[in-house]
């Protein structure tokens, strides 16, 4: 069962007041709403692009550092320009958005501003009533998003335990791709586990700073607790993306357990297993199923003290598996990391 309301929330550019929206996000998802959270300090362009790509019903903006009349108006205008005016816009900013401002903003196309002191239930009720059951979400690329490539795009699957650095790694690869190939078009399919309850908080976009680019199409899916770290819609999306004219498609799973092997039946063309250098004992290593099948094993967090040993151990573990596998050590969080460069070269070749 798909959630009935899907929203994108964010805090405007040059604003880091995220306390209100973090709480509101939690309230939304506890009440069955799916929220794609873009984070703080986000431009109107990033917000509108993400909203269209994610196919949300509405955008919720929490603004405190002033300039809200201009900012909300910019979001509404951009939506119109992209022919996505059906996406609603609402928000709040405590007392900083005065009643008089709210009137102007509503005249400019904002649906509703929530003033300081509004009970949470009122916002949830509004979101459900105003945006619930608006339309059916289809697996379709929005206009402007598709690339120009005629052939099918290679699809790279990235998996690994939670906290290993998958998201950061993809974003660093995207950064390199866009730089090396100025006309590159990239698609990313990202998965997030749902929280208990009916909603889901999809937060990968907030971390993927370089992927918020007109040349990148990204879609976040909630796995709703489904085993295997993927969603019922995954296969369909992968197919659509492969045929979408992109130069490469990345599929990122949620954090997986030791026995999991999320990519089945040729879903992806190449698979990368990302693990942290602090995986624990050698015994743990034996149990990891993905090490038998991944094309590339990335040992991330190579700056940890035990990293060289880890790389050697993983190398030995793999030798006994199937041939042609590669092990690459990276420090994805480091800017211009040579390990990530090496992985990038490997993927491009």
């Amino acid at each position: 069962m798909a959630a009935s309301v899907r929203l994108l929330t964010a805090v405007p550019i040059c604003d880091g007041h995220d306390s209100a929206i973090s709480t509101i996000n939690l309230e939304f998802i506890h009440h069955g709403i799916e929220v794609v959270y873009l984070g703080y300090h986000r431009s109107a362009r990033d917000i509108v692009r993400a909203a269209i790509q994610e196919g949300v019903d509405a955008i919720g903006i929490s603004s405190y550092n002033g300039g809200h009349v201009e900012f909300f108006a910019e979001v509404v205008a951009l939506l119109k320009k992209q022919r996505a005016a059906k996406i609603g816009v609402f928000g709040g900013g405590g007392g900083t958005i005065t009643k008089a401002d709210a009137t102007i903003m509503q005249r400019k196309g904002v649906d509703r501003i929530f003033f300081a002191g509004t009970p949470m239930e009122e916002m949830i009720r509004f979101a459900r009533e105003a945006y619930g059951g608006r339309r059916r979400r289809s697996v379709k690329l929005p206009r402007f998003s598709a690339g120009k490539r005629k052939t099918m795009a290679p699809c790279i699957g990235i998996t690994g335990p939670g906290g290993a650095g998958k998201t950061t790694l993809i974003d660093e690869l995207v950064l390199r791709w866009l730089k090396v190939q100025p006309d590159a078009r990239i698609a990313i399919l990202s998965h997030d586990p749902s929280i208990v309850g009916k909603g889901a908080l999809l937060g990968d976009r907030a971390t993927m700073i370089y992927s918020q680019d007109d040349r990148v199409f990204m879609r976040s899916l909630a796995t709703r607790g489904r085993a295997g770290g993927l969603s019922p819609e995954t296969a369909q999306w992968v197919r659509t993306m492969k045929h979408g004219g992109f130069d490469v498609v990345f599929v990122e799973t949620v954090g997986i357990g030791q026995e999991a092997m999320p990519f089945r039946s040729k879903l992806v063309d190449k698979s990368i297993f990302v693990m942290s250098a602090d995986y624990g004992s050698q015994l743990q290593l034996q149990k990891i199923a993905m090490l038998d099948v991944a094309d590339i094993v990335v040992v991330n967090k190579g700056d940890l003290a035990g990293a060289p040993t880890a790389v050697a151990e993983v190398g030995r573990r793999i030798e006994r598996g199937r041939s042609g596998q590669r092990v690459i050590a990276t420090v994805a969080k480091r800017h211009r990391d040579p390990g990530v460069d090496c992985l990038f070269e490997e993927l491009r070749s």
Partner: protein
């Protein structure tokens, strides 16, 4: 063993030491005699004062008990004001009037920033017109806080909102115009973090332009520059953490050497508290961040007794009961950690404290009630012997304060310190009550428990990277809103005795007109055009210093002469990358 674990042990060892002194005071007659002799000398040294109503009081309140054990507990456990472990205060005299019948230096320091540099300059002159000591505290606008130029894409609406717009060294000259920056009694504080080294470099360069190179050693002030709490709470870190910490250490190394009167970091709990943390979380994260900086700077080869005395702190003060004693406990834990774990001398053991009353406790509905809330918080802040203090204006939920409410906020401090008899006759009037002691013990235990948790996660840096502090703060913030919603946290005028919505009034808001914003954009463009031949080379040189491992701050002093804030951050992003948020 990690620093935090050692600090926990030292605090426990100190408690044992105090118990031992109490025992000796009671059982060891020689020890007791010496102690009582010292006690009598202390007593005799305390002056008396006559109140306007004619009663006579000592200027310092000491325990009245003659029990040697109690005296030992006070002297070793709390410390006489100005003495280790500084529970009561870091100096012997705090707000008592000096020889002229007035305080030598007012602790009032109001945070201000609005519009363009000239507008804020005017506000600074307004705020300090009656003060003998000039304490300026600067709020920057969003684009400046995020290291962006006013002509950057999509930021026009934010120029000069919530703080002052600063793009270039020329703006910095305008900002503090008609203030004598080298003056003994002037100090400037700047709330800036991600781009702190660049902004401080602009300040130094502007001072030098106006007063010549000799002024640099005399500059007094503080730059916030606490990057750890940005990752945890305020969200203004712009470069990756590793690079940010290196830029910070470069700046500290430089100021320690060349700006001996500067405080290059203000280790801040305020933003942690305002983001929603409980007071215990606030204290624990702030102190542990502080100790992390000490380790970092020592790792850079700086001596703890050189930089230690130049560290300062910034805490929140709200309406929760913990605030009756929070800063007292923080002073103690800092002093013990610095002395026993880092071997610091007395100057570096003193936790120098700026306090701000809580903005989050101020409510839009029935906003004039905020005058009362702030007055109570102010009282608590001074009860905790803060060294300086900002009081929020009643219009806080809406806007950068208007003049009327700023004046009321400033006067609230004068009323408390100068008009009432609470702080001007006697120091420590309220300390030592049983309730306060119970609170201190409870808080200390809870803070140490947090230290242990952080330690188990691998220390402050590892915990921060794992989002530990962030997730704890967010959880506490959520709970706070839930409690407000269901009424377990009564808020007058909101969930209890609410006013009717028709009677709701908003104060007048302070906004920057479009024409002012345009002026800022225009003059920035002119600056860039004028320096177009020098800027590219200056940026290359800066990049070279970053790559080669030289002192970035020293180089920035040159770069800011011909480059704007956004040009500099833009180039640094290319070299070190951008901060990747984990929300």
């Amino acid at each position: 063993m990690s620093a935090l674990a050692r600090i926990c042990e030292s605090v426990e060892a100190h408690a044992r030491f105090v118990r031992e002194q109490i025992r000796r005071a009671r059982e060891d007659s020689k020890f007791r005699a010496a102690l009582l002799k010292r006690w009598r000398a202390i007593r005799a040294s305390i002056a008396t004062v006559q109140t306007p109503t004619g009663i006579e009081l000592p200027t310092l309140a000491l325990p009245t008990s003659n029990d040697p054990g109690e005296i030992a507990r006070y002297l070793f456990g709390e410390g006489f004001p100005g003495e280790f472990p500084f529970v009561n205060s870091i100096y012997r005299e705090m707000y008592l009037p000096g020889s002229g019948g007035r305080m030598p230096e007012e602790p009032t320091r109001l945070f201000a920033g609005l519009g363009l540099a000239e507008d804020t300059n005017e506000r600074f002159h307004y705020l300090t017109q009656h003060q003998r000591s000039i304490r300026l505290s600067t709020a920057f606008d969003g684009p400046t806080l995020y290291g962006m130029d006013s002509d950057a894409d999509g930021v026009f609406g934010k120029i000069g909102e919530g703080g002052v717009a600063i793009d270039t060294v020329e703006d910095m000259e305008r900002l503090y115009d008609r203030f004598a920056l080298g003056d003994e009694r002037l100090s400037v504080s700047m709330t800036i973090n991600g781009p702190a080294p660049i902004i401080l470099a602009m300040y130094v360069a502007a001072a030098q332009r106006r007063f010549g190179g000799k002024v640099i050693r005399k500059l007094r002030g503080t730059v916030q520059a606490d990057i750890l709490k940005e990752v945890q709470a305020q969200n203004e870190i712009i470069f990756p953490l590793e690079a940010s910490l290196r830029f910070l250490a470069d700046m500290v190394a430089h100021t320690t050497e060349h700006l001996p009167r500067w405080y290059p970091i203000s280790i801040s709990g305020y933003h942690i508290g305002e983001a929603g943390a409980t007071p215990v979380q606030q204290a624990a994260y702030t102190l542990s961040n502080g100790f992390t900086y000490v380790e970092l700077f020592r790792g850079r080869g700086l001596a703890v007794d050189r930089f230690g005395p130049r560290l300062s702190f910034f805490l929140d003060c709200g309406l929760d009961v913990e605030y009756v004693a929070l800063a007292r406990v923080c002073r103690k834990l800092w002093a013990i950690g610095m002395r026993d774990v880092f071997g610091a001398g007395e100057a570096a053991q003193r936790l120098k404290l700026h306090t701000q009353t809580s903005g989050r406790s101020l409510i839009a509905l029935g906003f004039k009630n905020n005058l009362t809330r702030t007055a109570i918080e102010l009282f608590l802040a001074y009860l905790n012997a803060t060294n300086s203090c900002h009081s929020n204006s009643a219009d806080e939920p809406f806007t950068t304060p208007g003049e009327e409410y700023v004046r009321l906020a400033a006067h609230a401090q004068s009323i408390l310190l100068e008009e009432t008899g609470l702080f001007r006759h006697m120091m420590n009037l309220f300390t030592g009550s049983p309730g306060m002691r119970i609170l201190e013990e409870t808080l200390e235990k809870a803070i140490l428990e947090e230290f242990r948790t952080i330690d188990r996660l691998g220390g402050v840096l590892a915990a921060t990277e794992q989002r530990y502090q962030r997730s704890q703060i967010q959880e506490a913030a959520h709970l706070y809103e839930q409690q407000t919603g269901d009424g377990t946290r009564p808020i007058i005028g909101l969930n209890r005795y609410p006013a009717s919505t028709e009677s709701f009034v908003e104060p007048k808001v302070v906004r920057t007109p479009r024409s002012r914003k345009q002026l800022q954009v225009d003059r920035l463009r002119k600056f860039k055009h004028r320096h177009r031949h020098q800027s590219a080379r200056a940026l290359d040189e800066l990049a070279g210093v970053v790559e080669s491992g030289g002192n970035v701050f020293a180089e920035l002093l040159k770069t800011v002469e011909c480059c704007s804030l956004g040009q500099i951050t833009g180039r640094l992003f290319e070299v070190v990358g951008r901060f990747r948020p984990s929300v």
